[in-house]
């Protein structure tokens, strides 16, 4: 346990350095896409924007999941539950909602050129929506799985089960956030406050569902 603290610090420094070198260094750009299904190609393009341009948002997204992991670990440790999975999902619902919601703006910005292309190629709107949702779900489910697993290790609960269920739980949450954001795009009263209210409702519903599981 004592070694975990310096190891975690070292990991943060290493990942930060790797991002600087691999994703900002012009000479080290690596092709990260291939010709594939439209939904996967668009998702890959959106994810690359998050990685290369909107890393601040990714850090906030990761921080939100980290706070969730700490809260979950303390809760499991101090008050071991009969159903740790339900407790994990209930506690992680809000952080995972925030984790997905903060990524909405950069992904919407990335959609501009892709939307023009999609209209010309008559790509279905459902494909664009699915790519949008998958883009939000990919980092938030990874952060959720990591948070669940780390909390499980700390609280001596099954980390694999907690990690998998937390990662899977992030997917419907991210999809709900994506659908809300896309629905709001078509409304005249759209704005950051209205979006946050909707995300709040998504978090509340997810917490409620997980609590009654």
């Amino acid at each position: 346990m004592v070694a975990l603290v310096p190891a975690a610090g070292l990991a943060v420094v290493a990942v930060s350095a790797a991002w600087r070198v691999a994703l900002e260094g012009g000479g080290l750009d690596v092709r990260l896409t291939r010709r594939t299904l439209p939904v996967l190609a668009i998702t890959a393009a959106h994810l690359l924007r998050l990685l290369r341009v909107a890393r601040g948002r990714l850090v906030v997204s990761a921080a939100s999941a980290s706070f969730g992991a700490v809260a979950l670990a303390l809760s499991l440790h101090n008050d071991p539950p009969v159903r740790p999975v339900a407790r994990a999902l209930a506690i992680l619902s809000w952080p995972l909602t925030l984790s997905a919601a903060v990524l909405v703006a950069p992904v919407r910005e990335a959609e501009g050129p892709v939307r023009s292309l999609a209209r010309v190629t008559r790509t279905r709107w459902t494909t664009l929506l699915a790519a949008f949702a998958l883009t939000l779900a990919t980092p938030s489910s990874a952060f959720g799985a990591t948070a669940g697993a780390l909390a499980g290790v700390f609280a001596r609960e099954p980390p694999t089960t907690l990690g998998i269920t937390a990662g899977a739980w992030a997917v419907p949450i991210a999809f709900a956030v994506a659908i809300w954001a896309r629905w709001l795009d078509r409304r005249p009263q759209r704005g950051p406050v209205v979006f946050c209210l909707g995300a709040f409702v998504v978090g509340a519903v997810a917490t409620g569902v997980a609590s009654t599981w």
């Binding site: 291939r34 439209p38 190609a41």
Partner: protein, 192 residues
């Protein structure tokens, strides 16, 4: 029988109260090259955006084939991607692979980030993306604007024999393509 590759019938487009295109009727036959000429703000780009499907018309009828190749006046390419990554995305949506990276001399650009390209290089990438998949109709807005002499010649060579609707101020391009000329003025098609 000559088949129409594109048919616009009484097409109109408004931006607020301003009418950008008013009752435009135009047909491009298969194998034909049509050049839309006109002053700045005459509605050429809007007409081409409607023809390509990027904009919806507010009135009239548009008949276009599936899988058009469209290159806008200002290349709309995500800055954060490598050129090859953008062509992967375009290829995925069109269901086509890049056959000839030497086309328009973009082989040397494939590994570069779009944000590092000059306007002319972006134009070449945008045109290459439009050409991907051998589309039945090319809709090109000012395709030779920022191109150097060699790239311009390559574009003209590539367009010969294709079905093309092009908006341009470049009279030499019109002549080189032996294109039928359509003039626009104040959102209306003046002479067909």
């Amino acid at each position: 029988m000559v088949v129409a590759a594109l048919e616009l019938e009484g097409v109109s487009k408004y931006f607020g109260a301003r009418c950008a295109v008013h009752g435009a009727t135009l047909a491009v036959r298969s194998g034909e090259r049509v050049a839309v000429l006109g002053d700045n703000g005459s509605g050429k780009s809007t007409l081409l955006a409607i023809a390509s499907g990027v904009l919806d018309a507010d009135g009239g009828r548009v008949g276009r084939p599936v899988g058009i190749g469209y290159a806008p006046e200002k290349p709309d390419i995500p800055d954060h991607l490598l050129v090859v990554e953008w062509l992967d995305v375009v290829g995925s949506l069109k269901g086509a692979n890049l056959r000839d990276p030497d086309e328009l001399g973009i082989r040397s650009l494939l590994g570069k980030r779009v944000s590092t390209l000059s306007l002319g290089q972006r134009q070449r990438v945008s045109l290459c993306a439009a050409f991907l998949g051998e589309p039945p109709l090319l809709v090109l807005d000012e395709p030779t604007n920022a191109l150097d002499h060699d790239a311009r010649a390559a574009v003209i060579e590539r367009l010969r024999g294709a079905t093309v609707l092009v908006a341009t101020h470049d009279e030499d391009l019109v002549e080189s393509l032996s294109a039928r000329v359509v003039r626009m003025k104040n959102g209306r098609i003046d002479i067909s």
